[in-house]
């Protein structure tokens, strides 16, 4: 059982709301959609990868491909497919990355049915910083109309006994942070060095 540890644990992030999320026009952007409790009620994933690192690596993966990223927070649902699809429809390229607080991640595209996806990473306990970098990079390549090799997904049979209940608990907490009826908001990531919150 792997429990990845963050590479830069001393970084923290806070999200500043900058108004309602708009539909983007740039064809070279990927929208990253964050769940209600991401970098708010929670500060790290189910295996303690700091949300600051999750975000840095996703953004880095996108930037390295020469693509721009926009951040939105979806507040009225904690359903990953819904979060990701909402973001995809806001994205100028139609490509989005949705992330739940516990780490579960999905790459989505606006023309796909909501319950489908381009790439899904359901096993949150197995996602570490390098994986988030690859996810960002792949999303950006889709946005450029390229065809990246899908990020290799890992699997672990014993994840159930170890993580299933904690995942459920985190999921419930995330649900608690849902504010029904609130539209997605555009946010800005403010990174700072200092002890993890």
């Amino acid at each position: 059982m792997t429990t990845p540890t963050a590479t830069a644990p001393d970084r923290t992030v806070s999200l500043r709301e900058v108004g309602p999320a708009r539909r983007g026009t740039r064809p070279d952007e990927v929208v990253i959609a964050l769940s209600p409790a991401f970098a708010g009620h929670f500060s790290k994933t189910i295996v303690d990868v700091p949300h600051a690192e999750v975000l840095r690596q996703l953004l880095a993966g996108i930037e390295e491909q020469g693509v721009t990223a926009r951040l939105v927070r979806v507040i009225d649902t904690a359903d990953l497919a819904a979060i990701s699809h909402t973001a995809a429809r806001l994205s100028g390229s139609g490509i989005s990355v949705g992330v739940l607080s516990r780490g579960t991640t999905m790459i989505h595209q606006k023309d796909l049915p909501r319950l489908s996806n381009l790439e899904l990473f359901p096993q949150s306990p197995l996602l570490d910083a390098p994986v988030f970098r690859m996810i960002g990079s792949n999303a950006a390549q889709y946005a450029k109309g390229e065809h990246p090799q899908p990020v290799p997904t890992r699997n672990d049979q014993m994840a159930r006994p170890r993580w299933q209940a904690k995942a459920a608990l985190l999921h419930l907490k995330e649900f608690d942070c849902i504010e029904a009826g609130r539209d997605p908001v555009e946010v800005e990531a403010v990174f700072s060095r200092g002890t993890t919150g």
Partner: protein, 631 residues
């Protein structure tokens, strides 16, 4: 044409059966006393076992029963079953790389990271980022960053060094961080990343890093004189580094480090000599001389009696391997094994190809396209076991079964049933292992030849040149047209036309180059674009089928003169290919030949020619006997 019930006395029910490498075809017909033939139907099934072995019986019986049931006839009514004398040609394939690129002392990083950073050329001394602080101002530095450095920290360190006066002119990174780092630099520099073995980059050496703008390729390091200028080389040294320049041509980024003895060599691997016996001569040719040279010599040794490879060399191994497999195929339980000496290679097709291979001594998994030669060898054996198959069929069906004729001749006969065809007619049977040609003259004489190389070789070439490493995918690329999925609702065909779909395409083909199979688009796992894949596919087909079509026809054409041919009918599985027939037709057009895909019996397309040919031949023989009864 339907089954005639009963019918006049003396009517004979005959079945022609063609056992091919991959499919077994049967053709059921009634021969009236007047010799007129009524075809009742055909059937096709997978060949069981290796062609020409007793295992074929099962498939043969299946095909025969198939036609009978369709025509509503019973095995009891069958007069004779006619089998083809399979000319025992079995073909084998082998491929050898004949060049390899070696980098010594890590002088060059020639790989092509998808996302280098910055632009331009930077020349300086290689220093580790850890010791940047200690550099004295003024000295141009190429900064080398090992694994484990976070991009923010790298940028901060470089900016600090620059601020302190260190003249950082370029950087070499282990991770995929080039754009991230350059975006954060106060002073832009060219950066090459994803150098996996960065720790092997020699420090304290003069190095040049070049990155071209997006969509461009480097100019200085891919030019021998550029290198000479950068490193101040004399003519001798310049000659020495010219392979470096060549190896870097076409890259968007590159690094060259000047080391005392460092070098890039592009050496030819001695593959050995191919020894050809034929036309009373024994000719030798170096395989690494390439396909053209080999085929030229093969041409002079026609008709080929045998081909061997110098023992102990690659080519020796290649041909020995082919022979051994053939020997196994021909072994009969309870009978003495076929002596390998009995197995003569009667034709060879050499094709130039290339194989993407990782460069030895590279620091970033550099890949170079190495030249290779593919050989298709065709073996004749002195043993055919069709008679045995015939006996087993007769046993299994309870009716007479005999060898009705030799493939090639039979095929011509069948081809003649194609509407609009007349003697003299030549057929090209485009199979899996060999390409066969046969000519039927106006006078009714028939000559047939078999040349090595067909569908299998095409698949192998596609597989290796696209580095697919998956025969099935290569098969798909060979058989189906290409497309590019541009959105979930439309894909662009290889001819540029766009097709829209109302049901969204599956996610796994999104933005991918696909083959358009019967059951929807299937992704081709390659980084190459559609055009490249298409070019490789068509080239492979041309180098095998067009080349072989001409080779084979020349061997049957009177005096080797293609203009003497009038009708060429294409048969066999590959005649169903969506572009091969056109390619061959185009190649033959200049000789004023009518060439097209056969339509046997006006209904069967390029299939069933041999089977129906067997029936025709049989009928003709009956007529003969009728005219001049023996005894």
């Amino acid at each position: 044409m339907g089954a005639r019930e009963g019918g006049p006395l003396g009517e004979r029910l005959v079945v022609g059966v063609d056992i091919g490498n991959s499919t077994t075809e049967a053709c059921l017909a009634v021969v009236a006393p007047d010799g007129s033939i009524t075809y009742l139907g055909t059937d096709l099934t997978r060949t069981t076992g290796v062609k020409g072995t007793p295992d074929n019986t099962e498939g043969a019986l299946k095909a025969i029963r198939g036609t009978l049931t369709r025509a509503g006839r019973s095995a009891g009514e069958v007069g004779t079953v006619l089998l083809n004398e399979a000319t025992p040609v079995i073909s084998g394939l082998a491929m050898e790389t004949i060049t390899e690129t070696i980098i010594t002392e890590s002088t060059m990083i020639g790989h092509n990271p998808t996302t280098p950073g910055g632009e331009g050329l930077g020349v300086g001394t290689t220093r580790s980022i850890a010791e940047l602080g200690e550099r004295q101002p003024g000295e141009p530095v190429v900064c080398v960053v090992p694994h484990g450095w976070d991009f923010d920290d790298v940028a901060a360190t470089l900016n600090a060094a620059v601020a302190a006066g260190v003249d950082v002119v370029a950087a070499i990174l282990a991770g995929d961080d080039a754009v991230l780092v350059t975006n954060r630099l106060t002073r832009p520099i060219p950066v090459v990343d994803e150098v996996s073995a960065v720790e092997k980059v020699p420090l304290g050496m003069l190095a040049a890093v070049e990155v071209a703008p997006p969509g461009r390729t480097i100019r200085t390091l891919s030019n021998s004189y550029g290198l000479a200028t950068v490193f101040g080389l004399d003519p001798a040294q310049t000659r020495q580094v010219s392979p470096v320049a060549r190896a870097l041509t076409g890259n968007r980024s590159a690094v060259v480090v000047r080391t005392p003895t460092g070098d890039v060599t592009d050496r030819r691997i001695p593959v050995g000599e191919l020894v050809l016996h034929g036309a009373g001569k024994t000719l030798r040719v170096d395989v690494d001389a390439g396909a053209e040279a080999i085929m030229e010599v093969v041409g002079r040794a026609q008709p080929l009696d045998d081909a061997r490879g110098e023992p102990g060399t690659h080519v020796g191994g290649m041909l020995a391997q082919v022979r051994d497999t053939m020997a196994d195929v021909m072994d009969i339980a309870g009978q003495p094994d076929v002596p390998v000496s009995e197995i003569a290679i009667r034709d060879v097709l050499a094709v130039d190809t290339f194989v993407p291979a990782e460069v030895r001594g590279g620091l970033a998994g550099e890949v170079a396209l190495e030249n290779a030669v593919a050989l298709a060898a065709m073996v004749r054996t002195s043993r055919s076991r069709m008679q045995l198959v015939a006996d087993l069929v007769s046993e299994g069906l309870g009716t007479a079964a005999e060898i009705g004729g030799v493939e090639g001749e039979m095929a011509v006969g069948g081809a003649l049933t194609t509407p609009g065809v007349d003697r003299p007619v030549a057929v090209l049977d485009l199979g899996g292992g060999s390409t066969d040609a046969a000519l039927l003259t106006r006078e009714g004489e028939c000559t047939a030849v078999h040349v090595a190389g067909a569908g299998e070789l095409v698949t192998k070439l596609i597989d290796s040149e696209l580095a697919l490493g998956d025969r099935d995918v290569a098969e798909g690329v060979k058989w189906f047209p290409l497309g590019k999925v541009e959105s979930f609702f439309h894909l662009r065909h290889e001819d540029g036309t766009v097709e829209f779909v109302d049901q969204p395409l599956p996610p796994h083909v999104f933005a991918r180059v696909v083959v358009l199979t019967a059951d929807g688009p299937a992704p081709v796992p390659t980084r190459h674009g559609l055009d490249h894949v298409r070019r490789v596919r068509r080239e492979a087909k041309r180098r095998v089928f067009v080349v072989n079509a001409l080779r084979a026809l020349r061997q049957v054409a009177p005096g080797g003169n293609l203009r003497a041919l009038e009708f060429v009918v294409l048969l066999g599985g590959s005649a169903l290919d969506f572009e091969i027939p056109d390619m061959i037709a185009d190649a033959l057009a200049p000789y004023g030949i009518v060439c097209g895909t056969g339509n046997v019996l006006g209904t069967e397309g390029p299939r069933n020619a041999v089977a129906s040919g067997l029936v025709r031949a049989h009928t003709a023989r009956l007529a003969e006997e009728a005219r001049c009864p023996t005894g």
